[in-house]
């Protein structure tokens, strides 16, 4: 039997996931006959598109937490910032089709704006908005990360301060006067790039883009873990002082990783918004960011596919439980987290290895017993 190395096995995993998401799922949606077991409905596909955006956020958090040991409890902020940046463009593309038949977005009419605020004007341009999707989360992460890492804030303190950051942003965005729609956020979008936003073909295209984007992120992480950069990331996690005293500026490394993870999450947010049709400050709530941590922990930290599996599994469970047992969802989520932390330190992905270990141990004990019995 040929033995495959771990990098080869994860590459095979990524290729399989890519094939399933990028080829199989859209094909089953397009060509599967209605009512057949193999058919994926438009509703299902849209739901999965949402899961894929979540999966990317989980992947980005894993880059920070799993591989570099930086537990960020505010990853939802960068996701939301990307979503808001693209949402602004979608709002302006509504044009005069809004409820008030005004060129201004509905919430501005409602709040008595006379004209579009200056910082909204460039978002009429698609390319500016797309750049904003990259730069807004990137710059926020860059400034915050620079201050935090230079001050040597780490561990629990870093986790708490990122949580505070997303909470502060959440409160800010809740303000009507902050010009981003207050607690209602942005919704009621009509078109995206000139296509009717909720048309099945548009949603299918958005799913496809999300799937391609997720697999690109996975390939990036796979490549990164092989490079010396990736090795240093994990070395920073295990012994930052040693890395620093080996001539590496760990501050620079951490800052780069933090910014990359923020941009990765921001793009996911921008893909998420046209698929769910709404973005509001709820996405910046600390509890949302904590959920992302649960996805990564459940799927398996510091593994390439773990966060994807965790994000999809937990969100599928969420859809299922909020439908069947709405009042118990938070208890289920909490219980799941506790169970994983206590009994599955390597998450779902680590389960086969763990079971193999159990099996070996028990077989060994069983044999010992049998030998003892034979001797007697």
């Amino acid at each position: 039997m040929i033995k495959f190395s771990e990098t080869q096995r994860s590459l095979a995993g990524i290729i399989a996931v890519t094939f399933f998401l990028v080829v199989a799922m859209p094909a089953l949606n397009l060509f599967g006959s209605e009512g057949s077991f193999l058919h994926i409905s438009d509703y299902q596909l849209n739901l999965w598109g949402k899961y894929l955006c979540y999966a990317v956020v989980a992947v980005s958090l894993n880059l920070l937490w799993g591989y570099t040991g930086l537990l960020c409890l505010g990853q939802g902020l960068f996701f939301a910032l990307g979503g808001y940046a693209f949402g602004m463009h979608l709002m302006l593309m509504i044009g005069e089709q809004g409820a008030y038949k005004s060129a201004l977005p509905d919430f501005m009419v409602f709040l008595g704006y006379k004209e579009l605020p200056a910082h909204w004007i460039p978002f009429k341009s698609l390319s500016f908005s797309l750049l904003a999707v990259l730069f807004v989360p990137g710059i926020v992460a860059g400034v915050f990360g620079f201050l935090a890492f230079r001050a040597r804030i780490k561990g629990v303190y870093f986790a708490i301060i990122t949580q505070a950051l997303t909470y502060a942003a959440c409160l800010l965005f809740f303000q009507n006067s902050f010009t981003f729609g207050g607690n209602n956020g942005f919704t009621d979008f009509k078109t995206v790039l000139g296509n009717e936003i909720f048309a099945p073909s548009t949603q299918r295209a958005l799913f496809f883009i999300s799937a391609v984007y997720l697999s690109l992120c996975l390939f990036l992480i796979w490549w990164l873990t092989k490079t010396k950069f990736g090795k240093i990331q994990r070395a920073i996690r295990d012994s930052e002082n040693r890395v620093r005293f080996s001539g590496y500026s760990t501050t620079t490394y951490k800052l780069i990783i933090f910014v990359v993870a923020a941009i990765m999450a921001g793009i996911a947010g921008a893909l998420y918004v046209p698929q769910v049709g709404i973005i509001n400050p709820e996405e910046m709530r600390p509890s949302k960011s904590l959920e992302i941590v649960v996805w990564v922990a459940v799927g398996g930290r510091a593994t390439i596919l773990g966060p994807v599996i965790g994000a999809i599994f937990v969100n599928w469970l969420k859809s299922y439980s909020t439908y069947h047992y709405p009042e118990y969802w938070l208890i289920i989520l909490g219980a799941l987290f506790v169970l994983v932390v206590l009994f599955m330190p390597n998450g779902i992905v680590g389960l086969p290895e763990q079971l193999k270990g159990f099996y070996r141990k028990h077989r060994f004990r069983f044999q010992q017993k049998k030998e003892a019995a034979a001797e007697a």
């Binding site: 990164l224 490079t227 010396k228 950069f229 090795k231 240093i232 994990r234 070395a235 996690r237 295990d238 012994s239 002082n241 040693r242 890395v243 620093r244 005293f245 080996s246 001539g247 590496y248 500026s249 760990t250 620079t252 490394y253 780069i256």
Partner: protein, 262 residues
């Protein structure tokens, strides 16, 4: 040549010059007007009771903390002032430090631990596109030989014994190709045999490198020491050979116990 000129000329031969160093924590003077000179190629052992300021002294050299006053210059020739530099910059000058508790990258193999320590471009983008060359591999093999861990190259560092981790860390310092090695209690927690091996290793490095070794274990100090500096309350109490220092009544009083009281 005037005496001052002579002193200046002499100063240029030191690899490390510390003058008038002071550092206090919460009003407590940990380093008190310390002057210390290390010759090029010298192996200097620093001993002293707990709280004498030994580890703080290494922290000052490596930039982990900043002195309240005083200068630290890294020679030879026109010295480079270290007191304003960051840790990684000081390290890149050629000053490597081994920590008291072995700190290796426990998730990586022995080989990768050395690979990451190699004295190569350590910028983030260089690391992204780094490919190990035949020269790198050769250098790592050489170091593995020196620290006698050739067979352990593919083991995960976290699975090594305490003594092996200490050696691996010394190997990681060697990979950095330092001019000055700062070694903090290398023999702590080692068996007698391991301690002796460590001593041999350090002695073999002296000459081609300059070393400052901090140690408590007097048998070990006797094995390696040519010149010993006794630190007490943040300044130098005595300096000299181990026999000279060990027989000094003042040293005996502060460090080697209070036999004279009996």
């Amino acid at each position: 040549m005037s005496t001052q000129e002579k002193a200046e000329a002499k100063k240029k031969e030191f690899i490390l010059t510390c003058e008038g160093l002071n550092k206090s924590f919460d009003g407590f003077k940990v380093i008190n007007d310390l002057n210390l000179y290390i010759d090029k190629g010298e192996l200097r052992t620093i001993i002293g009771p707990n709280g004498a300021g030994k580890s703080t002294f290494l922290d000052l050299i490596t930039g982990r903390i900043r002195p309240d006053s005083g200068t630290i210059e890294f020679g030879p020739g026109e010295g480079v002032a270290l007191t304003k530099m960051r840790e990684y910059q000081i390290n890149r000058l050629g000053i490597s430090r081994k920590f008291q508790t072995p700190s290796v990258y426990s998730d990586h193999t022995v080989y990768d631990n050395l690979l990451m320590s190699l004295n190569r471009n350590r910028g983030a983008f260089a690391a992204l596109f780094y490919r190990e060359s035949a020269a790198d591999r050769e250098r790592i093999d050489e170091i593995l030989e020196t620290i006698r861990m050739t067979e352990k190259r593919s083991l995960i560092a976290g699975s090594l014994s305490h003594g092996q981790k200490q050696w691996l860390e010394i190997g990681m310092l060697l990979a950095q190709e330092p001019k000055l090695l700062l070694v903090d209690e290398p023999a702590a927690g080692m068996t007698d045999e391991e301690t002796e091996r460590t001593g041999e290793l350090l002695l073999s490095l002296a000459g081609s490198h300059s070393l400052i070794v901090i140690e408590h274990d007097m048998v070990f100090v006797r094995q390696i020491a040519t010149k010993v500096t006794v630190l007490h309350q943040g300044s130098i109490l005595r300096e000299g050979t181990i026999d000279h220092v060990q027989s000094d009544p003042k040293v005996v009083e502060v460090y080697l116990g209070r036999q004279h009281e009996k």
